[in-house]
C-alpha cells in the first residue's frame, strides 16, 4: 500500500487544512495563498505523529497505560505528573523509525537548498488542530538535520506535558493522544516586529489601521510590557501619523531561545520602521482585510538580512476579535432607549 503523504510544503495548504496539519500550519498556508510573504518551510501533519505512534507500537502502549489509570487521573494532579513523566519516558526510549527520520531530514535539506544555505537555522513549532494555548513546546534556532529530527520528536513528546494532560482532561478530550502538526520554518532575523490591526480597537474606527512595533522580536509588543511605536494609517489616503516612543527593552534571539535585554541607546528614540515598510505592511494588511471582509489582527517581522520588500514577513493573520466592545453602561442605555421606541 502506498503510504499516505504526511509532509507538506506550505503552499499546498490553506485554512481548510487545520485538521490535517494544525491551525498554525494551515494559517501559514492560507497566508501564502493570499500573496503574503511567510518564512519558507514545511509542515508535518497530524498523521506524521500518528504514524510514529503506530509504527513503533508506542500508541498502543500509551493507550493501555492511560486506560489502566482510569478515572483516578482526573482527581489528582500528582497522578497527572506521574503519567506525564511515564509517557514521556516511553517516548524518549522509542527512536523514530528510519523511514520517518529520513523523510524529515530530506525535507529539511530541501528547505536549506531552497534558501541556498547549509545548516539553515529553523524554528520547530507545534501546530495544534484545536486551540491548546501554550501547552506544547516550540524550539528556535534549530540547525542541522539531526537536530531538527530530535526537536520534532520532542514537540510530539510535549503533548504529554502535565498541563497538556490536565487541559485535555478538563475539556473532556481524549487524554492518551493529541492531534498536533509541526511547522518547520526558517528563523527570521528580526530587525523589528509587531502587530497590525485594521481597526482601531478602542473606538471601532474602521477608516484607520494601526501598526505597533518594537525593535527585535514581537513578544515585547504582544506582551504589552513596553510602549511600542504606534503608527496610524488612514486607509483611503495611506497617510501615516507616527507616535515614536522611547523603547528601552526588547526581546532578542539567543542560542537557546529568547531573552529580554536593553535596547542600545542610539536606537531607543528611532522609529522601528521606515516609511516604505509601514506602507508595505498597510498595503498587505488592507488586502487581507478585503479578502476576508472583516478587520484583521496580524503579526509581522522585518528581517534584517533580506532586502526590502522581501524583508517584510508575516507570521500570523486572524480576524480581529476585539473590535470596540461598547461599555456596559452604554449598552444598557441604548437597549433602554430601544425599548422606549416601542412605547407610544
Amino acid at each position: 500500500m502506498m503510504s499516505k503523504k504526511w509532509i507538506y510544503s506550505l503552499d499546498e495548504l490553506g485554512q481548510e487544512h487545520a485538521d490535517l496539519v494544525g491551525r498554525k500550519c494551515a494559517n501559514l498556508g492560507e497566508m501564502t495563498k493570499l500573496g503574503m510573504r511567510v518564512p519558507p518551510g514545511f509542515a508535518i501533519s497530524v498523521d506524521g505523529f500518528e504514524k510514529y505512534m503506530r509504527e513503533t507500537g508506542l500508541g498502543k502502549r500509551i493507550e493501555a497505560y492511560f486506560a489502566a489509570l482510569g478515572e483516578d487521573l482526573k482527581k489528582s494532579i500528582q497522578k497527572q505528573m506521574e503519567a506525564s513523566a511515564a509517557a514521556k519516558q516511553m517516548m524518549a526510549e522509542t527512536p523514530l523509525p528510519a523511514s520517518i527520520a529520513d523523510h524529515i531530514e530530506r525535507s529539511y535539506e530541501a528547505l536549506c537548498a531552497g534558501c541556498s544555505a547549509t545548516g539553515l537555522p529553523v524554528a520547530v513549532r507545534s501546530s495544534g488542530a484545536v486551540s491548546m494555548p501554550g501547552q506544547m513546546e516550540t524550539y528556535l534556532h534549530v540547525r542541522g538535520s539531526a537536530e531538527v529530527t530530535r526537536r520534532v520528536r520532542e514537540v510530539w513528546e510535549s503533548t504529554f506535558n502535565t498541563r497538556a494532560i490536565s487541559f485535555r482532561l478538563e475539556k473532556g478530550m481524549q487524554v492518551d493522544k493529541a492531534p498536533i502538526g509541526i511547522a518547520v520554518i526558517r528563523m527570521v532575523n528580526a530587525k523589528s516586529a509587531g502587530v497590525v490591526l485594521t481597526v482601531i480597537p478602542t473606538t471601532g474606527d474602521v477608516d484607520h489601521a494601526v501598526i505597533e512595533g518594537n525593535w527585535g522580536l514581537g513578544e515585547s509588543v504582544v506582551s504589552g510590557e513596553i510602549t511600542p511605536d504606534n503608527f496610524i494609517i488612514h486607509k483611503a489616503s495611506l497617510a501615516i501619523e507616527k507616535k515614536v516612543s522611547k523603547k528601552t527593552r526588547w526581546v532578542v534571539s539567543t542560542a537557546n531561545g529568547t531573552a529580554k535585554a536593553d535596547v542600545p541607546v542610539d536606537l531607543q528614540d528611532m522609529p522601528c520602521l521606515e516609511d516604505d515598510e509601514i506602507r508595505e505592511l498597510a498595503r498587505i494588511a488592507l488586502h487581507v482585510e478585503k479578502h476576508f471582509g472583516v478587520p484583521q489582527d496580524m503579526e509581522w517581522v522585518v528581517d534584517k538580512d533580506l532586502p526590502f520588500p522581501e524583508s517584510v514577513i508575516w507570521v500570523q493573520a486572524r480576524a480581529a476579535k476585539f473590535t470596540a466592545k461598547p461599555k456596559e453602561a452604554d449598552t444598557d442605555y441604548i437597549t433602554d432607549q430601544m425599548a422606549r421606541l416601542f412605547r407610544r
Binding site: G204, A329, T331, I334, A339, L341, R343
Partner: protein
C-alpha cells in the same frame, strides 16, 4: 381547452394551500392588506409564491418573537393572484406589551454589544448550509437523493428567512433609534444630507461584485475583446466572446468568477429566470455598459471623497454632542452605519443566494420529471407546488402532472394580465387609516422599508413633483423610465433612472447614471443606500414618477430640496 376547463371545474389545489387570500376571513384578521409591490410585481410563479408566502411569513414572525418586539408580532402574509399581501400583527394589550418589553431588553443586547460577531455567525451558518446543498450532483443523483435535496432546500429557505428577519428587525431597531436621537440632539432626520454623510462610505459585497465586473471590462479591452462586446446583443454576448481570439480564456475566468459570486437571480424575488451561472447575459451586459461609458470605476473614485466627507460629518456631529453622551452616541452611530451595509449584503448572501439554490434544486427535479414524462419541460416545475412534487418525486414515471401544469400556467397568465390592487381594505377603512395602522405598530421594517417619510409639497419651489431625499445632490439629464429588470440593458450613461422601485440586480447601472427617482422607498431601501455609495442624488416616495415622467424628457432632480422639475414639458 376543454381539458383545462375540466380541471378548473375540478378546482385546482391552490398555489399556497392555507394562505390564499380569503376576503371575509382575512379582513376580520386585519382591515388592511398591502401588496408587496417591491417583490411580487409582476406576479410570482406558483412555486416561488409558495416559498415566499410560507417562509417570509414564518421568518418575520420568528424574528419578532425571538426579539420579543414589544408592539409587533411580525407580519402575516396571503397569496392572491401571484401577489403577496401583507399586514402587521399587532400586540393587543398593554399588559402583553410590557411583558414583551422585558424580554426584548435581553434579546436585543447582542446587536448592541457585538454586532459584527452576530452577523458573521449567522452568515457562516447560512454559507455552510448552501455548501451542503451544492454537494449533490443533481443529474447523477437517485430520485431519493433528489427529493432529499429538495426537502433540505425547503429547510434552508425557512432558516434563511429566520436569520433574515431576526437580523433585519434588530438592525433596523438600532437605525431608527439613531435617527430619533439625531432628530432630538441635532435636529436632523434621515432625509437630511448630513445624516446621509454620517452613514455612507462603506464597502459591501454587492459593490465588490460590481467592481469585479468593471475589472473584467478592463481586461476585455486589454485582450482586444471590446469590439466584439460592443457589437453584440445581450443574449449573444457569451457566444460571440467565446468565438473571438482570446475569448475562451477570458470566458473561462469570467465563469470562474460567476461560480463564486454568480449565485443570484436576474429578478431578485423569482426563480423562473436563469441564475448568472446558467446564463451570464446580465453580468456581461453590465460589462458592456462599463465599456460604453468608459473611464474609471467611479465607485472607487467616489469612495475616498465620500469616506472623507463622513469623517468630517462625524467630527462635526460629535462636537455638538455633550462629552458624557459621546460614548453611547458613537456606539449607536456605528450600529446605524452597519445598517446600510447589512441592507445590501443580506440581499446578496440571503435572498439572492437562497433563491438561486431553490432554482437549482427545483430544476434538478424538473429535468428528472421531464425525462420521466411527468411534465413536458424542466421549467414546468415552477407551476407545480411542493405537495405535488412529493407526490411524484420517487416515481415520476407513474404520475402525470401535465394537467396541473397546464391549469396553473393558464391561471398565472391570467394573473399577469391584470395588475393586483396595491391595497385591499375592509369596507369603511381608508388608506390613511391603513398607513396609520402601520405607523402605530412601530414595526421597524414596516417603517423603514414600506412606509418611509411622506414628501412635503413646498409650493414656493414650483416643482413638478415632490419626493423625499434618499441621497443628497442635484442632477440634470435625460430621464430613462425602467419598469422591469429586462429593460436595464437600455440604460445609457448619464441618464437619470426613473422607476417604481429598485433591487440589487439593478446595482450595476448605478455607476452609469446621474440620479434616481423612485415611486416608493425609505432611507434603507435599495435605491437610497446604493445612491449614497455612488454619490448620486436619489429622490424617494415620488409616487407617480414612473407614470408621469417619459423616457427622453429632460429632468432636474434636486434631492436636497425634495423637488423634481420636468424641463421640456
Amino acid at each position: 381547452m376543454t381539458n383545462v376547463l375540466q380541471h378548473d371545474a375540478m378546482r385546482l389545489v391552490p398555489a399556497v394551500p392555507g394562505f390564499e387570500f380569503d376576503a371575509p376571513v382575512d379582513l376580520e384578521i386585519s382591515p388592511a392588506w398591502f401588496l408587496d409591490a417591491t417583490h411580487s410585481v409582476p406576479p410570482w410563479t406558483p412555486l416561488f409564491g409558495w416559498f415566499w408566502i410560507n417562509f417570509c411569513r414564518h421568518g418575520m414572525q420568528y424574528g419578532a418573537e425571538k426579539l420579543s418586539l414589544p408592539t409587533t408580532k411580525g407580519w402575516d402574509w396571503r397569496f392572491k393572484n401571484g401577489g403577496g399581501y401583507l399586514t402587521v400583527l399587532l400586540v393587543k394589550s398593554e399588559e402583553e406589551r410590557r411583558q414583551r418589553e422585558e424580554r426584548f431588553r435581553v434579546a436585543i443586547r447582542p446587536f448592541v454589544a457585538n454586532y459584527d460577531e452576530l452577523w458573521r455567525s449567522q452568515l457562516d451558518e447560512m454559507l455552510g448550509l448552501y455548501e451542503g446543498l451544492k454537494k449533490l450532483d443533481l443529474d447523477k443523483a437517485s430520485n431519493i437523493e433528489l427529493l432529499d435535496n429538495f426537502e433540505q432546500t425547503i429547510n434552508v429557505c425557512r432558516r434563511m428567512w429566520e436569520v433574515h428577519m431576526y437580523m433585519m428587525y434588530g438592525t433596523y431597531t438600532a437605525y431608527i433609534l439613531f435617527e430619533n436621537m439625531c432628530r432630538e440632539l441635532l435636529q436632523i432626520d434621515d432625509s437630511h444630507p448630513l445624516f446621509h454623510a454620517l452613514i455612507t462610505g462603506f464597502d459591501n459585497k454587492v459593490l465588490q461584485v460590481d467592481k469585479r465586473i468593471w475589472e473584467f471590462s478592463q481586461k476585455a479591452a486589454k485582450l482586444g475583446l471590446a469590439g466584439v462586446v460592443l457589437h453584440s446583443e445581450p443574449n449573444e454576448l457569451a457566444a460571440k466572446i467565446e468565438a473571438a481570439p482570446n475569448g475562451p480564456g477570458f470566458m473561462a475566468e469570467f465563469r470562474e468568477f460567476l461560480n463564486e459570486d454568480g449565485w443570484r437571480m436576474q429578478r431578485m424575488s423569482e426563480m423562473n429566470l436563469p441564475t448568472w451561472i446558467e446564463d451570464p447575459a446580465p453580468p456581461l451586459t453590465n460589462l458592456k455598459q462599463f465599456l460604453v461609458k468608459g473611464g474609471g470605476f467611479n465607485l472607487e473614485e467616489e469612495r475616498a471623497k465620500i469616506g472623507k466627507r463622513r469623517e468630517e460629518a462625524e467630527k462635526e456631529v460629535l462636537a455638538k454632542i455633550a462629552p458624557e453622551q459621546r460614548g453611547w452616541f458613537t456606539t449607536l452611530l456605528r450600529l446605524a452605519q452597519k445598517s446600510g451595509v447589512f441592507s445590501e449584503e443580506h440581499d446578496h448572501y440571503l435572498d439572492l443566494y437562497t433563491h438561486a439554490l431553490m432554482r437549482r434544486s427545483a430544476m434538478g427535479i424538473g429535468r428528472r420529471f421531464a425525462s420521466a414524462g411527468a411534465i413536458d419541460s424542466a421549467d414546468d416545475i415552477f407551476f407545480v407546488i411542493p405537495e405535488e412534487i412529493r407526490k411524484a418525486a420517487l416515481n415520476p414515471d407513474l404520475f402525470n402532472l401535465r394537467p396541473t401544469v397546464a391549469s396553473r400556467r393558464a391561471e398565472w397568465q391570467e394573473w399577469c394580465k391584470e395588475p393586483n390592487p396595491p391595497v385591499i381594505l375592509k369596507e369603511g377603512f381608508d388608506m390613511d387609516q391603513a398607513i396609520g395602522m402601520l405607523v402605530k405598530s412601530s414595526d421597524p421594517i414596516a417603517l423603514k422599508v414600506v412606509v418611509g417619510s411622506m414628501p412635503v409639497v413646498r409650493a414656493e419651489l414650483k416643482a413638478d413633483l415632490y419626493g423625499t431625499c434618499g441621497s443628497p445632490g442635484v442632477a440634470e439629464g435625460m430621464a430613462r423610465v425602467i419598469l422591469s429588470e429586462d429593460q436595464l440593458a437600455d440604460v445609457q450613461p448619464g441618464e437619470i433612472l426613473v422607476a417604481a422601485t429598485t433591487s440589487p440586480s439593478w446595482t450595476p447601472v448605478f455607476s452609469l447614471i446621474k440620479g434616481v427617482v423612485v415611486d416608493r422607498g425609505a432611507s434603507l431601501s435599495h435605491a437610497a443606500i446604493v445612491g449614497r455609495e455612488y454619490g448620486i442624488p436619489v429622490l424617494l416616495n415620488v409616487f407617480v414618477g414612473s407614470q408621469q415622467i417619459k423616457t427622453g424628457q429632460r429632468i432636474r432632480v434636486d434631492a436636497n430640496l425634495g423637488a423634481l422639475y420636468v424641463l421640456d414639458k
